[in-house]
């Protein structure tokens, strides 16, 4: 009934030959729970390790072994639910989902089917065009991850690494509230940010700790929902965008030629940028769900939920509003900062007692750019919050110019050091001594008589003179002072 939350403007639709098409997208995100041990065993849940070194008897499905629920994973799921403003179900049930595959030693995955631990919630997503959408969360359930098959070791055998087998996953299922690759990428990005704030998932897509299945259908404006295809196991935000672009165009092309879309599972090939159907012969699986008799229904008290809620960190949306109201940041700057929780810590440290907008500018424009160039995380930034703060102070105190400040930043980045001392040592102080500046101005004027003629006709030429003087000063002359003295000299100019 309320299957579709909103209908997009034409700008968000795709124009086909026969008119505008709306793309309808829902996402299932598989987020690995950050926990020391696995969902039902005491084996380490850490990524990597020698193959089959994080495997307990339970994970290997030895005869007579029984799962025991790891409370830490339950608390992480509840934390995630609270972070996504979702309903926490006081009673949930683990069920067995059956299928044969070598990476699933038990022959069934313990998952939640009819009664998930978390119910409806929502995520507010800022789209780069400045708008924002609310994506409804249908449910989150806890389940076991599968092992990994390695096919390239031996010509006729496959190898099995069960380190991942049994690691806790949260499957976060959205309603079909997304309308484009841009929406979806922003949604995944926002979700990842929230999970990282909550410290319930590290969000490392390249290590597979966050993966997405995208459900996509298209329809002409105002028509009922089309048949959807599921694109499985997308492990980067870029691929998600490419897969959606390809798949929506493919579906539109089929429909515009009066073809029909088959409901099917498709895989994205990152080399070609195309999606293709998974083994077409695969029949519809019957998972034969039933409650796992080895586990009791999971009962959660309100007190347990309240305790987790009281320890919840400030989340990105709240932080953004606070940055706007307390620090006077612009919405865009605030949302750029809150996208990375560590950047917000960095920002707040630097902003203490300083011009917050200026600090935000420095972080977003200088620091982020430099970090990105070297693919570094802000937590290991070569320029510390203290150093950046000192650099900004030197600018505010007019000891150095903004231009020199950028050079200083670069020196600190490479060589480190106390910014004030570096300024001394490198002689980077701004030239405020008018006598010295006057001398340079004399030299520039006497060396450029032709320019002196020109400026009388073209007053804008003053910029050229200011530039020359600063250049001759080695960038140290304060531009305001240079401008002021020059205007006094060129008294023929209108003020």
């Amino acid at each position: 009934m309320d299957e579709i939350a909103h209908s997009p403007p034409h700008s968000k639709m795709i124009q086909g030959i026969s008119g505008f098409w709306e793309v309808v997208i829902g996402v299932e995100v598989h987020a690995q729970v950050l926990s020391k041990s696995k969902l039902f065993s005491r084996a380490s849940a850490a990524f990597g390790g020698q193959p089959n070194s994080h495997v307990s008897l339970i994970d290997a499905a030895m005869p007579g072994m029984l799962p025991v629920l790891n409370e830490a994973c339950v608390s992480q799921a509840v934390r995630t639910g609270l972070g996504l403003k979702a309903r926490i179900n006081h009673r949930s049930v683990f069920e067995r989902k059956h299928y044969f595959y070598p990476d699933l030693p038990q022959g069934y995955q313990i998952s939640q089917h009819e009664s998930p631990i978390i119910g409806e919630g929502h995520v507010i997503v800022d789209i780069p065009d400045g708008t924002s959408i609310t994506v409804r969360i249908e449910r989150i359930h806890l389940e076991q991850d599968a092992g990994k098959l390695i096919h390239d070791r031996y010509p006729s055998y496959s190898c099995l690494d069960m380190n991942r087998s049994g690691v806790a996953l949260m499957e976060i299922v959205s309603r079909p509230d997304l309308r484009s690759a841009k929406d979806t990428k922003a949604y995944i990005g926002k979700l990842r940010t929230i999970l990282r704030y909550l410290e319930t998932c590290d969000g490392n897509m390249e290590q597979g700790s966050l993966r997405a299945d995208v459900n996509l259908s298209v329809r002409r404006a105002g028509e009922p929902l089309g048949t959807r295809c599921e694109i499985k196991n997308l492990n980067s935000i870029r691929f998600i965008g490419q897969a959606i672009d390809y798949e929506s165009r493919r579906q539109i092309a089929v429909l515009e030629e009066n073809g029909t879309i088959n409901q099917e599972t498709r895989l994205f090939d990152s080399k070609t940028g195309e999606t293709r159907p998974m083994r077409t012969k695969e029949s519809v699986r019957d998972y034969r769900y039933f409650p796992d008799p080895d586990l009791l229904p999971l009962e959660i008290s309100q007190a347990y939920i309240d305790e987790i809620a009281s320890a919840l960190p400030e989340l990105p949306d709240e932080k953004k509003s606070r940055f706007m109201s307390d620090y006077g940041l612009k919405a865009y700057d605030a949302s750029v900062l809150v996208a990375d929780r560590n950047a917000t810590f960095f920002f707040e440290e630097v902003a203490q007692g300083r011009d917050a907008r200026m600090v935000a500018n420095w972080i977003i424009n200088e620091l982020f750019g430099r970090l990105k160039k070297e693919a570094l995380d802000i937590t290991i930034s070569p320029v510390s919050a203290y150093q950046l703060g000192s650099i900004i102070d030197l600018v505010v105190e007019e000891v150095i110019s903004s231009k020199i400040a950028k050079d200083l930043f670069e020196i600190i980045w490479i060589e480190g050091g106390e910014p004030r001392e570096v300024v001394e040592a490198h002689g980077l102080q701004q030239m405020t001594n008018t006598g010295e500046i006057e001398k340079i101005i004399d030299n520039v004027i006497s060396a450029n008589p032709d320019k002196m003629e020109k400026i009388k006709l073209k007053p804008a030429m003053i910029g050229w003179f200011v530039g020359q003087v600063i250049k001759k000063s080695g960038g140290k002359a304060n531009p305001q002072i240079v401008d002021r003295i020059l205007r006094k000299r060129f008294d023929f100019l209108p003020l």
Binding site: L57, A60, A61, M62, P63, G64, M65, L66, P67, V68, L69, R96, H98, F100, P102, P105, Q106, G107, Y108, S158, L160, D286, Y287, R288, Y289, F290, P293, D294, L295, L296
Partner: protein
């Protein structure tokens, strides 16, 4: 003390404590007996001589120092359903061929930490699926009892047939069994011994190979009620490794044996009086009622209206869960593997050859009843029946303390008569499955022999976690019935 293997656990315990004989002597006596008898009885699938001798030596050391524990030096047999570090564990199945666990089940481990001595692993129906021990990949166990004047091999019952026959033939002092739908009580009845299926959750299922996870429960089998009480006290207890085990203190079961049932209310459920019931079963049941009444108990007629749905519900729930529990036997990581051209044919070949026909039948039934098209007709309905049966018992126990019923619809039957007709075999469980469905404790007590000289037993069903009352009533029945005539020793 001329025959050590004839002693009950209680008597052997005293003899050991007093130093009348050693644990080594007792163990050797059993090993000799096993050596001479097992070829004919086929109760043991594996005898762990060396482990037994080593454990007995350890027990003797402790006894000498006066540090004997509850089961110090008592030689026991272990149903092959329990994973043990000693030897191999196959649950009667080819698919676990040569499987050697690196771990010990909680229940057997509890016995060893109380000083018991392991004699070996006992035969059973494959994965517990059978009532005659004929589905075992090691061949059937033979009942020590025979129809008077014949030598027709009779079943020892199932699935704990090996445990039952070993206890009856004096090949161990006591044994571990498991009971999912009657697997301790039915073979106990057919071999004239005592066995108890404790309340679901009383004993840990960790390390016990899963047949039907929501019904399986480990229990002791021995020659007397007291012996069962002694062994259960060691086995039982909370285990954090089994989420369905219950964190409640284990009562001192032996001290419940007061011999007094005055005023105890004994319920007789009318629905257990079947039209087709043989006269000998009817008679033994009546005799049991009379014994308890004579001992001062109050006999109360009760009704368990949904009894007739228990067997069909069981034969949906049990295959459903077991079809899932058996998925792990895929030839990839352990046990038997039949090679194939690819992974799918390897799975198919392994499971086709590795599982016997009864197991395959139940996998198919279980897969069918769980499939999305039929789940609501079968599995979900069976779960509703489960709730109703539970409520039946709850209501009955408002009026009575225990229930007294038959255990089996007949005495031991010749081998080969039940396997041809699976439904007939399933019928053996008619009096026992409701107890598992409701998770209640129940005990079989040998109560007499029929005209052919074959043992017959009675079942006492109790409230959840009220094993003490079961033991108390069971012992009164046991002494009223007196010891059963011993079978002629034809097997050695």
């Amino acid at each position: 003390m001329d025959n050590l293997t004839d002693m009950t656990i209680a008597a052997a315990r005293e003899g050991l404590r007093r130093g009348e004989f050693s644990a080594t002597e007792l163990t050797e006596a059993y090993l000799v007996s096993i050596e001479a008898s097992n070829g004919a009885i086929n109760a043991y699938v594996l005898v762990t001589h060396e482990i037994a001798r080593e454990m007995a030596r350890g027990a003797d050391d402790r006894l000498r120092r006066g540090e004997g524990r509850a089961l110090e030096g008592i030689p026991l047999g272990i149903k092959d359903m329990f994973c043990t570090r000693a030897g191999i564990t196959q649950a009667g199945s080819r698919i676990l061929n040569s499987f050697k666990p690196s771990y010990e089940s909680t229940v057997s481990s509890n016995l060893w930490s109380d000083g018991a001595v392991m004699l070996g692993k006992l035969n059973m129906d494959e994965f517990g699926m059978g009532s005659s021990n004929e589905t075992s990949c090691f061949g059937p166990t033979i009942n020590p009892y025979r129809i008077k004047g014949t030598d027709i091999p009779l079943t020892a019952g199932g699935s704990s047939g090996g445990s039952a026959a070993a206890v009856a033939a004096r090949l161990c002092a006591g044994a571990l069994g498991t009971d999912t739908g009657g697997s301790i009580r039915q073979p106990g009845a057919l071999t004239g011994i005592v066995g108890i299926k404790p309340t679901y959750g009383r004993c840990s299922r960790w390390g016990m190979i899963a047949f039907v996870s929501s019904l399986d429960q480990a229990g002791p089998m021995a020659r007397t009620v007291r012996d069962c009480a002694i062994v259960l006290e060691s086995m039982a207890g909370y285990d954090p490794k089994d989420s369905t085990s219950v964190d409640m203190p284990v009562p001192a079961y032996e001290s419940a044996l007061t011999g007094d049932v005055k005023g105890t209310r004994i319920g007789i459920p009318k629905e257990y009086r079947l039209d087709s019931m043989p006269a000998e079963i009817e008679q033994i049941w009546q005799r049991g009622i009379d014994w308890l009444r004579d001992a001062g108990a109050e006999i109360v007629d009760v009704s368990l209206p949904h009894t007739r749905y228990a067997l069909p519900a069981y034969y949906i729930l049990a295959p459903a869960e077991s079809s899932s529990n058996l998925l792990r036997y895929d030839g990839v990581r352990y046990g038997f593997r039949a090679e194939g051209d690819d992974i799918v044919s390897m799975y198919e070949n392994t499971r086709t050859i590795g599982f016997g026909p009864e197991v395959k039948r139940r996998i198919m039934i279980g897969t069918y009843v769980l499939s999305s098209s039929f789940c609501s007709d079968h599995y979900l309905k069976a779960r509703k029946v489960r709730t109703l049966i539970h409520q039946d018992f709850e209501r009955a126990f408002e009026k009575v303390d225990v229930l007294l019923t038959p255990v089996t619809p007949s005495a031991a039957f010749p081998l080969g008569t039940s396997t041809l007709d699976p439904v007939r075999m399933y019928h053996n469980d008619i009096f026992t499955v409701a107890v598992n469905i409701a998770g209640l404790p129940a005990m079989v007590v040998p109560s007499g022999v029929n005209a052919d000289g074959l043992p017959l037993g009675l079942q006492v069903i109790g409230r959840a976690f009220d094993e003490p009352t079961l033991f108390r009533v069971g012992e009164v029945l046991e002494s009223a019935a007196g010891p059963l005539p011993r079978p002629d020793v034809w097997w050695r």
